[in-house]
């Protein structure tokens, strides 16, 4: 039913190549918990970035807090450096509705005003509900709305696709 899934590590090396071609000076890379952090860690390594890697948890900025409440395992965001006037590379595993990225941008702006934010996404799929698009994409996958894709990790990355109960 689904075509064979790509290997995340292959996609990441492709993303690294693409990022390297137009890498801003001293960028700060930030992964979104949890899958985005795994991807960011690998990208950070292949790009030999010397600036420390950041991570953010978007739970405080979710637009569905009043419906689903606070995730019991909210992690603290770690922004390692002053982001004022710096170029950021925001990394996540899956882009679908765009709401996570909206929340992540709000979170980032509570830490300061970056010069620019690039969005690097491992897998893009249809279903956008907000006007958000990635700058760098590992792969575009055609999935039914009922299918749910998840990145498993952290040691070995692989995708898992399941039917979402409706």
């Amino acid at each position: 039913m689904t075509a064979r899934l790509p290997r995340p590590d292959d996609l990441i090396s492709g993303m690294a190549t693409e990022l390297r071609s137009e890498l801003p000076t001293h960028p700060i890379m930030i992964g979104i918990h949890t899958g985005g952090v795994w991807v960011a860690k690998r990208l950070h390594q292949s790009l030999d970035l010397t600036t420390p890697l950041g991570s953010i948890d978007i739970n405080f900025y979710r637009d569905d807090f009043s419906r689903i409440g606070l995730h019991p395992q909210v992690k603290a965001s770690e922004i390692p450096d002053d982001i004022e006037d710096r170029c950021l590379i925001l990394v996540d595993d899956v882009l679908q509705t765009g709401r996570t990225i909206r929340a992540a941008l709000n979170e980032i702006f509570s830490w300061g005003r970056p010069a620019a934010v690039q969005l690097a996404i491992l897998v893009e799929r249809s279903g956008r509900e907000l006007p958000i698009q990635p700058d760098v994409v590992g792969a575009r996958l055609d999935l039914n709305p009922s299918q749910h894709i998840k990145l498993l990790g952290p040691d070995t990355l692989e995708f898992s696709v399941s039917e979402r109960p409706t």
Partner: protein, 325 residues
């Protein structure tokens, strides 16, 4: 006073009235979330939108500086609108008049009431009468409970000690009048602390306190032996009727925490106090300001812990504009 009132029909925490009856998981969840709220204090913009558009009323029938202020800061960091009220104390038909006050404020679309009162059970009474979208937080009711204080104390202990199940804890002073002590004992028991000692003059130890699973002791020097945590209490002179302590000097001589007495505790023991402290009465200045003292950390932690508790109560609540999918 256990409180099934504090849960909704799905077993979710709806009000925060007492520690009694809460599960270990619920306490740990609040402490874990508080950990992440700490980081908000370190940002350029110290605010998150979790309670944006919500209104919180601090209703303090009894004076307080730090509790009211930290609730206010906590709510503001969650983006709530905050109103502080300190109505004059009412003597007759008090319960009924408090409910009238609450109904009036409720009509102004208040979402959370933080209530402090000198009568035990006030927030419990209010919780029974508010509609389901209104949440009550007990900020201290008489001698009964002060659950948010106990949670920030647990949070502070956890920052310094690895494992609750190996701790020896001494709670020292005016146990009789202390809502803080009661809430602390419940929280420590739920988190699995095996050795809890309550220490004070016989006149200030409630009868049958050992039924709470603690060891009552009248000798401070004996009680402090090898403890990991010393939790001092404020001598509540305003609640004392009659002669419960001999004199200030005599009380300090027998029960005041001095640097010398701290030596009896474990080498890495920490000293806590909910404040405000009576220097030279229950605690010596050199201890209160000393390097083992966590008193100011407790105050700071109070903000994150109260944010965590309010976020938990408001979780899963639909506002009026969110009724449709």
């Amino acid at each position: 006073m256990t409180s099934s009132v504090q849960f909704d029909t799905n077993g979710n925490l709806r009000h925060f009235l007492t520690i009694e009856g809460l599960s270990r998981e619920a306490l740990v969840e609040i402490l874990d979330a508080a950990e992440s709220f700490i980081s908000i204090g370190e940002r350029q913009i110290r605010k998150v939108p979790i309670l944006r558009g919500r209104t919180l009323v601090n209703l303090f029938f009894e004076d307080s500086t730090r509790t009211r202020t930290t609730f206010e800061i906590a709510a503001k960091r969650l983006s709530a609108d905050v109103i502080n009220l300190n109505p004059a104390r009412l003597s007759t038909n008090k319960g009924e008049r408090i409910l009238d006050t609450i109904r009036t404020l409720e009509a102004m679309h208040t979402d959370i009431f933080v209530i402090r009162d000198n009568a035990s059970g006030t927030s419990h009474l209010v919780a029974k009468h508010v509609p389901s979208h209104v949440h009550i937080v007990n900020a201290g009711d008489g001698r009964h409970a002060h659950p948010t204080q106990a949670m920030l104390d647990m949070f502070t202990i956890r920052q310094h000690k690895d494992d609750f199940t190996k701790l020896r804890v001494a709670i020292v002073g005016d146990i009789l009048h202390s809502r803080v002590a009661r809430s602390q004992i419940h929280a420590l028991k739920i988190l699995g602390v095996p050795d809890i000692r309550v220490i004070g003059p016989r006149t200030l130890l409630p009868t049958e306190i050992e039924k709470m699973g603690v060891t009552p002791l009248c000798e401070l020097d004996e009680g402090l032996q090898d403890v990991d945590v010393i939790m001092m209490l404020r001598l509540q002179l305003e609640r004392m009727e009659g002669q419960l302590i001999p004199s200030a000097q005599e009380y300090f001589r027998q029960y005041g925490l001095t640097a010398e007495r701290v030596q009896r505790a474990a080498p890495d023991a920490v000293v806590m106090h909910p404040g405000p402290i009576n220097r030279g009465l229950e605690i010596a200045s050199e201890v209160a300001d000393g390097k083992r003292s966590l008193i100011l950390e407790q105050v700071t932690n109070g903000i994150a812990v109260r944010m965590s508790i309010m976020a938990k109560l408001m979780a899963g609540q639909r506002g009026p504009e969110e009724g449709k999918e």
